[in-house]
Amino acid sequence: MKRKVALFVPCFVDQVLPQVAIDTLTVLRRVGCDVVFPEDQTCCGQPGFNTGHWEAALPCAERFVRVFSGYDCIVCPSGSCTSMVRSHYPELLASSPLRQDAIDVGQRVFEFSEFLVRVAGVSDVGASFPHSVAYHPACHATRELGIYAEPMQLLRAVRHIDLRPLPNESECCGFGGMFSAKFGMISAAMGDTKAVNLEQSGAEFVTAIDPSCLMHLSGVFGATRRKLKTIYLAGILANTAAGAAAKGASR
């Protein structure tokens, strides 16, 4: 009996980093999920909420609750978007008639690695990735959702992987959504600090369960001409053949 899963694809992943969602889909299917993509979804409302535009974010959030109301199991390849729904919808929709539904959907949405390990009970997805990789524990996922052990378990089960500890791993990479635009100079400096730590780790790749962090870091690496590469977790897990070129990696 295949587990039915609805894919919640963050708006920026949909429009800018589609490979993240494609790799997520690949891995979910490999572990036996019947995956659907509710095409009516747009955005969870996080950009508006985080910048104080709660009035603009509210209809987004209410729409999300309605679009996903029929699904028991929703998987999202982003810690921050998952946290928006689980941690912040109760506050944002406090006065909405959909308040209880919002609380409920928060219990039914899972970050990708959290889903694999805790719901599907899987840590070995048959992946192979013969490269050195450092894991960057993205802030919302780690601190708001308490997700850390799960991605580490998944990574340790990857064949031929060389996992490197990351110095000062829990320090923010500097993306922070609109922060990266409003205070770009500080955001870039934080990214640079993270890059220095990554270089110290000796890893070729940095991975995370938040593709927004990786998108930002990739930009920082490019601007500072660093050889480091980013790859979303599902990008690693989607690789099965040993020695195959790393798909889904970005410069």
């Binding site: 429009q15 490979q19 993509f37 910048t51 500097g174 990739s218």
Partner: protein, 470 residues
């Protein structure tokens, strides 16, 4: 954009690019992190300690009128004076008038962030009184004519070399090799002269204890002790929120404050002052005054959402963990209180329009929430400050239009996809024309500091339409 906001950006640009500054702060924070990790091991249950301290401070705030008046009564019973100041002007007026009436020529001050907040030193200097900051870090920045860099370690941005040069210029003391031991000795000599000639000592308060009418003052250097022992007048300037119900509450608060502040088990001189010298005592001030300062604190109290901000015990832990503080440092904020707590406190007490930008100088990493010893939900406070900033009409027209547009676009999946497609095509054109990074590049805020994102050929939903069900 407010003037303060422009100034913040200007300084942030400079500091973000200053790699020497970054290295200095990182070094300081590393030693702090190690000390605190070690300090926490002394607790059987650090989380339990946080819970207890949070509850005690919350109890004090929830019953503030009761505990403040209880404190006041006990101080008066012991021969002290209590003065209530609604704002900086009233607080400064009281101290200035007192100093004038008592012929005070010299004042020694131990650390008090409230006195920074109200600019007490300059009010006293205006009437010709010499004010000596006696906390070594405060003394150093005072000599440099700059504000403190950090609420606990005011001079952490300076090297020993810089301090030695400063002492040579300002004190006429030439310290060989900028040796920290000799630098401290030079400061001790200079400040001893001040302690023994000052007519008035001004201190802050870490806690005001209601059930015993005591003022708790903690210092490592002992400057708080000398300030409150030698001069004949002792004035305490304190925020009203410092009150706690019972003396026994310090059994948890003292170790927790010291651990979060510096990683120490307890601050070296944990002092309790009950009033002026009592009958039969051989020394001590003849007069004791407590100035209770509101200056916007009752605003925070009036709003049930922001009341918890008053629980702050000014330990500095949130500043130390904040990755933004670690990049830009304490002077960039332009406020008395920097870091996460300052980015909430300042807009709420000194004006949302002028200072609301500080609440955005945060990546919402939420590290501060985990270290606050009194469990203030700092990330939530930052978010609601942003919410209120927008609600009071401070948003730039372009941003307002952007979010209205986004709201419209996300109301329909087809619309969303179409606008996304248009955006990608437009960006591709901008890049093809070599206009990336120019004024015509809509992603300029990105490309100013990062290499451009590779644009996908199709969105995920387009891919799904074609391949999803295979």
């Amino acid at each position: 954009m407010s003037a303060a906001s422009q100034e913040f950006l200007r300084k942030a640009i400079i500091k973000s690019a200053d790699l020497d500054h970054r290295a200095l702060i990182q070094k300081g924070m590393l030693s702090y992190d190690l000390a605190v990790a070690k300090g926490k091991l002394r607790f059987a249950d650090w989380e339990a300690a946080r819970n207890r301290c949070s509850a005690v401070k919350a109890e004090g705030i929830a019953n503030l009128a009761k505990y403040l008046t209880e404190f006041e009564q006990r101080v008066i019973e012991r021969g002290g004076h209590v003065h209530w100041a609604e704002n900086a002007g009233q607080a400064n007026e009281y101290v200035v008038n007192l100093a004038r009436a008592r012929n005070v020529k010299t004042v020694v001050k131990s650390k008090s962030m409230v006195t920074e907040e109200i600019h007490l030193a300059s009010a006293l200097e205006k009437i010709g009184i010499t004010v000596w900051e006696t906390d070594l870090g405060e003394f150093i920045v005072q000599l440099r004519n700059e504000p403190p860099y950090h609420i606990v370690t005011p001079a952490m941005h300076l090297s020993r070399r810089q301090i030695a040069d400063l002492f040579r210029d300002k004190l006429g003391e030439d310290v060989k090799d900028a040796d920290p031991v000799r630098l401290v000795a030079a400061a001790r000599v200079a400040l001893r002269r001040a302690f023994f000639s000052a007519e008035m000592g001004i201190s802050g308060a870490n806690f005001l204890v209601a059930d015993s009418g005591m003022v708790a003052i903690s210092t490592n250097e002992g400057n708080g002790r000398l300030t409150t022992s030698i001069p004949r007048i002792h004035v305490v300037v304190t925020g009203i929120e410092k009150v706690i119900p019972r003396l026994s509450d310090l059994a948890a608060l003292w170790p927790v404050l010291a651990t979060s502040g510096t990683g120490q088990p307890i601050t070296t001189y944990s002092t309790l002052i009950r009033g002026p010298r009592a009958a039969g005592e051989s020394d001590g001030p003849e007069e004791f005054h407590v100035v209770l300062v509101d200056n916007g604190r009752t605003e925070l109290l009036a709003n049930p959402e922001t009341e918890e901000v008053l629980q702050c015990i000014r330990c500095g832990a949130c500043l130390n963990i904040c990755p933004i503080f670690r990049q830009v440092g304490g002077h960039t904020y332009g406020t008395t209180y920097p870091g996460p707590i300052g980015s909430i406190y300042t807009p709420r007490t000194a004006g949302l329009s002028e200072w609301g930008h500080l609440s955005y100088a945060c990546s919402l990493c939420t590290a501060c929430k985990g270290v606050c010893p009194v469990k203030i939900d700092l990330p939530k406070q930052l978010l609601i400050t942003r919410r209120d900033f927008i609600a009071t009409g401070n948003v730039k027209p372009a941003e307002h239009a952007g979010f209205a547009g986004f709201r419209w676009a996300s109301a329909d999946a087809g619309r969303f996809q179409m606008l996304g497609w248009v955006g990608r095509k437009a960006l591709a054109v901008v890049r093809a024309l070599g206009l990336s990074g120019t004024v015509l590049d809509p992603m300029r805020v990105w490309t100013k500091y990062r290499s451009p994102i590779a644009l996908p050929k199709q969105s995920f939903r387009e891919w799904w339409r074609k391949n999803g069900n295979k």
